[in-house]
């Protein structure tokens, strides 16, 4: 490698990524905590009461960011899985499997808070509407990905097999995203559009801050999880042995 040239692939090796992830985790954790506190304060105390839905609407500050994250994480996961399949990089597959539990958690949160929101507003915990159903399918896809990964003992087969499944499932994400426009449903349409928003500014700010908080939380948690996965996958190598003897 020539002097002065940046090695773009330096951190695609688990051995170099492991300490980098360790250094980054505290920053992302701190950001997540600060943003959550700010976002929840803005959402619960500063943002005005909704004229139609009263105070009950405030669950939006959890519900919408969680739903966004559930879709975003799936796309990121499928992208990592695709990179793992194409370039055959170990770290990409590890990242994909580290993202899956957090994605499933946010999908579940979106469904759960949606149920809590639906009961007072629609009068039902659950309706079989296009957006709810496709979000439920997303949860099944996450679970399928994790169980396929868990069922295959050989990691060299588990990573590409589950990766292929993740890529096939990506079809569902645009369907969820667009379902409110494509089908006439009970679920309200998108409030934030590229042409501007029909929301009050503090509400929007609170929601965006919460989204970033969840995003930072995801990064912190996924990095922590991927560190465990790296140690497990590379347990026979010398650097892991050195790392473990250093920390103990």
């Amino acid at each position: 490698m020539a002097v002065g040239q940046i090695n773009w692939f330096k951190f695609s090796s688990p051995a170099t990524f492991y300490p980098l992830a360790g250094k980054l985790i505290p920053y992302f954790t701190a950001l997540a905590v600060v943003l959550t506190v700010v976002g929840l304060y803005l959402g619960f105390f500063v943002a005005p009461t909704d004229y139609k839905q009263g105070e009950g609407y405030r669950i939006i500050f959890i519900h919408v960011p969680a739903a966004w994250m559930s879709m975003l994480i799936y796309i990121v996961m499928a992208a990592y899985a695709g990179m793992g399949l194409v370039f055959n990089t170990r770290l990409s597959s590890l990242m994909a499997s580290a993202l899956a539990p957090t994605g499933a958690l946010f999908t579940f949160l979106a469904l759960w808070t949606g149920a809590l929101w639906g009961k007072p507003m629609w009068g039902a915990w659950w309706v079989w509407d296009a957006r709810l159903t496709s979000e439920l399918i997303l949860l099944f896809l996450y679970i399928g990905f994790m169980s396929l990964k868990a069922a295959i003992d050989d990691p060299r087969r588990a990573a590409p097999a589950s990766g292929l499944l993740a890529i096939i499932g990506v079809i569902n994400v645009p369907i969820i995203y667009k379902s409110v426009e494509w089908w006439n449903t009970l679920h309200q349409g998108a409030t934030i559009k590229s042409s501007g928003t029909s929301m009050e500014t503090t509400m929007l700010t609170a929601m965006l801050v919460m989204t970033f908080a969840m995003w930072m939380y995801t990064v912190a948690v996924v990095l922590t999880r991927v560190r465990c996965e790296i140690l497990e996958a590379e347990r026979d190598t010398e650097w892991v042995a050195a790392e473990l003897s250093k920390s103990s």
Partner: protein, 222 residues
């Protein structure tokens, strides 16, 4: 290439005809599941007429999923599959042949017996036609998507349960529009939109699923 495709289809059909019991099991499973519903929810004809399309479709989904285990496992156990993967012909074409044979054996019988079951649910003649048409368009999609799941879970412990977890979420759109087509006919909206969408699922599935299944087979056999 066409010779290879024809050869795979004929081989799988011959194998299936030698073991007719397997084919009939799937068919009877379909019939039994459909007949369980009136026993469970009560014999009121008005309710059954509303439920009929959905019940037939869900049963078809389950039946075609149950038959997925046989798609590759026999060839996997006796080593034929490795030879198919190594063959000079493109694996995609060979897999397409296997899927086509699988559909002829496990999908087509469901389509043919569905009108009889629909009749038991009091569907009108028009609705029965739409039911058959939606199944003709939909069951190949089920076989195609299912092939990917079957290839991914090849030779795994508890592969049968796992394949349902992987494949059923992907079956849902087919179920929605398949049953929706018959519902639309019953309620007088006309089934064209739903049938067109089913056809629109079939085309990309036909192109991509054999390829993805071939890839999954390579991963599984490595």
């Amino acid at each position: 290439m066409w010779a290879a495709l024809r050869c795979v289809v004929m081989r799988d059909l011959t194998l299936a005809m030698r073991r007719r019991a397997d084919v009939l099991t799937t068919l009877f499973f379909f019939v039994i599941v459909v007949s369980l519903f009136p026993l469970g929810v009560g014999p009121e004809m008005d309710t059954l007429r509303l439920m009929g399309p959905g019940v037939v479709w869900v049963a078809a989904l389950l039946a075609s999923m149950l038959s997925l285990g046989r798609l590759f496992s026999g060839d996997y156990i006796d080593g034929t599959l490795e030879h198919l993967v190594l063959a000079p012909q493109p694996l995609t074409v060979l897999v397409l042949g296997k899927i086509a044979a699988h559909w002829l054996v496990s999908g087509l019988p469901l389509v043919l017996i569905a009108p009889l079951l629909g009749l038991q649910y009091g569907l009108s003649t028009d609705a029965l036609w739409v039911l058959v048409l939606s199944l003709i368009l939909g069951t190949p999609v089920l076989s195609l998507i299912g092939a990917v799941g079957a290839a991914l879970t090849l030779g795994l412990r508890g592969g049968g349960v796992l394949v349902s977890l992987l494949v059923l979420p992907l079956y849902i759109p087919v179920l929605i529009f398949g049953a929706g087509a018959v519902d639309a006919q019953v309620t007088g909206l006309g089934p064209q939109a739903h049938l067109s969408l089913l056809g629109a699922f079939l085309v990309p599935a036909l192109v991509f699923a054999p390829w993805a299944a071939g890839w999954a087979l390579r991963i599984s056999l490595e």
